[in-house]
């Protein structure tokens, strides 16, 4: 979860703003972001959330959307790099548990959430393993593990 730190970004600006305002630098270390990346994101084989089936679990690696409002909303629902999720339902919408909340998103959003699978698919007949959308597989590109 902790990324390496090369610069205290906010520190720079906070310091600068403070400096502009009154001449004191208030360096802050809230930020520890590696250049161009966000802590929690890493380079491991990943797939889209949309590729997971009901019953499967994964860890969010990255949210690829460029839309700031959508990113903020997913952030507010704690869908951030590092969060573990478990898919409850893949059709008609993607329903998954993240932390103590359960979230529903449509396919378009599920395509923009990169995850790494955790463990093997449990194919037992618990209510959790409800329908996987049969069309969910094979339609997307860029997944490293099309099926398990």
């Amino acid at each position: 979860m902790t990324g390496t730190m090369t610069s205290t970004v906010a520190g720079t600006v906070a310091g600068t703003v403070a400096g502009t305002a009154a001449g004191t630098a208030a360096g802050t270390r809230i930020f520890r972001a590696r250049r161009g990346t966000i802590s929690g994101e890493r380079s491991m084989p990943t797939c889209r959330l949309a590729a997971l089936r009901a019953g499967e679990r994964g860890r969010v690696v990255r949210v690829t959307s460029a839309s700031a409002p959508l990113l903020q909303k997913l952030l507010a629902m704690a869908i951030v790099p590092g969060s573990e999720i478990r898919v409850d339902l893949a059709f008609p919408a993607f329903v998954f548990e993240v932390g103590n909340t359960r979230v529903a998103v449509d396919r378009a959003i599920a395509q923009q959430i990169e995850v790494e699978r955790i463990g093997r698919v449990s194919r037992c007949c618990t209510p959790r393993a409800i329908t996987g959308d049969p069309r969910a597989d094979g339609r997307r590109g860029g997944t490293n593990e099309p099926s398990l």
Binding site: M1, V13, T16, V17, T20, F31, T37, L75
Partner: protein, 455 residues
């Protein structure tokens, strides 16, 4: 505000703070700040506000982990089954239909719109309040015009108040109650996620299930609730569909009453209005500019509704209804008064007779259409009278019902459209509804005439 907070807001791109800093620090220094923000943003491939949010979330997680303890979760068996039943499509969809049938149709439609409205309108208003007001006005007000403003057939009290209190209030009250129950159980998000795919076809997301269902109660209220939709585009599409093809409970009641003895006619009406709904939504989603809707929603666990919550929410909404919607109904009867006193209505009536004849209806039906705008159910009731007098064939009855349903919504809903969407959109939507109504009526009339009349 601390400097640190200001710095964060600057980095997040808060416009107000940017303006404030430019104002207090001067242009030159602000430019420096702006450059730093830009340089910082360039070092990240995501918006800075998101980067900050993520870091904040991370810190919050650390703190939360330090101070909280998670007890092993216990999930009741019954709750687990219910959870499954409301999410698994093969059981969730029949359940959805049951909820709509019992919750909406039986409780709100039959009990609210039938029994309660009958009592309030026939007993309370028609027998007690209206005669009293009429008598009072007759005794104390000399001017005939003023008398008509307050009382009589279209008076502010006898029509506006009666309509909003005796007809719409019980319906929306019941509806709010049912809605609050569903809301409190945590079922609504499940309803939304089940219907998301269907709504995507007409340019809306699953969230639209709420205003659309409300529309069968009161279109005016539903138009206001479109506020909860994410984008302007969705709000416009939802407003259009509510105006065009979602009959409100008042209208639905009369149309069902009129066509219920003719099942084929009823089916035809439902089919045509349903098709208009889907086609208009599909068309609007194709032609309106803007992004496609996205759907995301938190799905809360199912809970047993708490009566005090339900009542508090119902009351708060009814209060809102009184403040926001009732004035529109009262205003509508004032507009009727002006129209009648100035003779404007006679003119509009003459104008309406042209399209009415075009769709193959007797010119008297124009009256039903005009008054239908002021009271959606009154329009249908006007047709009902025509039908009973033997002035309409079955085919004409279907054509009239379809045209009236698609026709411009009631004046209160129009006012709400104006208020929520602005005058341009409101007028455009009304024009579309008017055109679609008469074009559909015209086509339907041709088809029915071609196939030999009665359906």
């Amino acid at each position: 505000m601390s400097r640190r907070a200001v710095a964060f807001l600057l980095l997040s791109g808060d416009r107000d703070v940017h303006a404030l800093v430019r104002h207090t620090e001067g242009r030159e220094r602000y430019e420096k700040v702006r450059r730093i923000v830009e340089q910082t943003a360039r070092r990240h491939d995501r918006p800075l506000s998101y980067v900050i949010g993520l870091k904040r979330q991370e810190e919050a997680d650390v703190i939360a982990r330090r101070v909280t303890q998670v007890a092993p979760g216990r999930k009741g068996r019954f709750v687990g089954v219910l959870d499954f039943v409301t999410l698994f499509p093969p059981t969730a969809i029949p359940l959805l239909i049951l909820v709509v049938y019992f919750g909406l149709y039986r409780f709100v439609g039959v009990f609210g719109a039938g029994t309660v409205v009958d009592f309030l309108e026939r007993r309370v208003f028609a027998e007690v309040i209206n005669p009293a007001v009429n008598a009072l006005v007759a005794r104390h007000i000399g001017s005939a015009a003023l008398r008509e403003l307050l009382a009589g057939e279209y008076g502010v009290v006898t029509l506006g108040l009666r309509y909003s209190v005796a007809i719409v209030l019980p319906i929306v009250g019941m509806f709010f109650f049912m809605f609050s129950v569903l809301e409190d159980t945590g079922y609504l998000p499940r309803l939304a996620l089940m219907s998301d795919r269907a709504f995507k076809l007409i340019g809306l997301s699953g969230r639209a299930v709420i205003p659309m269902t409300l529309g069968f109660g009161c279109g005016t209220m539903a138009t206001m609730v479109t506020r909860t939709l994410e984008t302007r585009r969705e709000r416009t599409i939802a407003t259009l569909l509510l105006a065009l093809a979602v009959p409100c409970s008042a209208q639905l009641g009369v149309i069902l009453g009129m066509l219920s003895t003719r099942p084929q006619a009823l089916l035809l009406w439902a089919g045509v209005v349903g098709a208009a709904f889907v086609l208009a939504g599909y068309g609007a989603s194709r032609f309106l500019p803007g992004e496609r809707p996205v759907f995301y929603m938190e799905v809360p666990p199912l809970r047993v509704p708490v009566l005090s919550n339900v009542l508090a929410k119902t009351l708060a909404r009814m209060k809102w209804y009184f403040v926001e919607v009732m004035p529109l109904f009262v205003g509508a009867s004032a507009v009727i008064w002006i129209g009648r006193v100035t003779g404007l209505f006679q003119l509009v009536l003459k104008g309406l007779e042209v399209p009415v004849r075009l769709v193959g209806l007797p010119p008297e039906a124009a009256f039903a259409f005009l008054f239908g705008f002021f009271r959606r159910d009154y329009g249908a009731a006007g047709l009902y009278d025509l039908a009973r007098a033997g002035r309409l064939t079955d085919a004409q009855l279907v054509v009239a019902s379809v045209t009236l349903t698609l026709f411009v919504p009631c004046v209160a809903q129009f006012a709400m459209m104006w208020k929520e969407r602005g005058w341009r959109s409101a007028l455009a939507i009304a024009a579309v509804a008017l055109a679609v109504a008469f074009i559909t009526g015209y086509a339907l009339n041709l088809v029915l005439a071609g196939t030999g009349g009665a359906p």
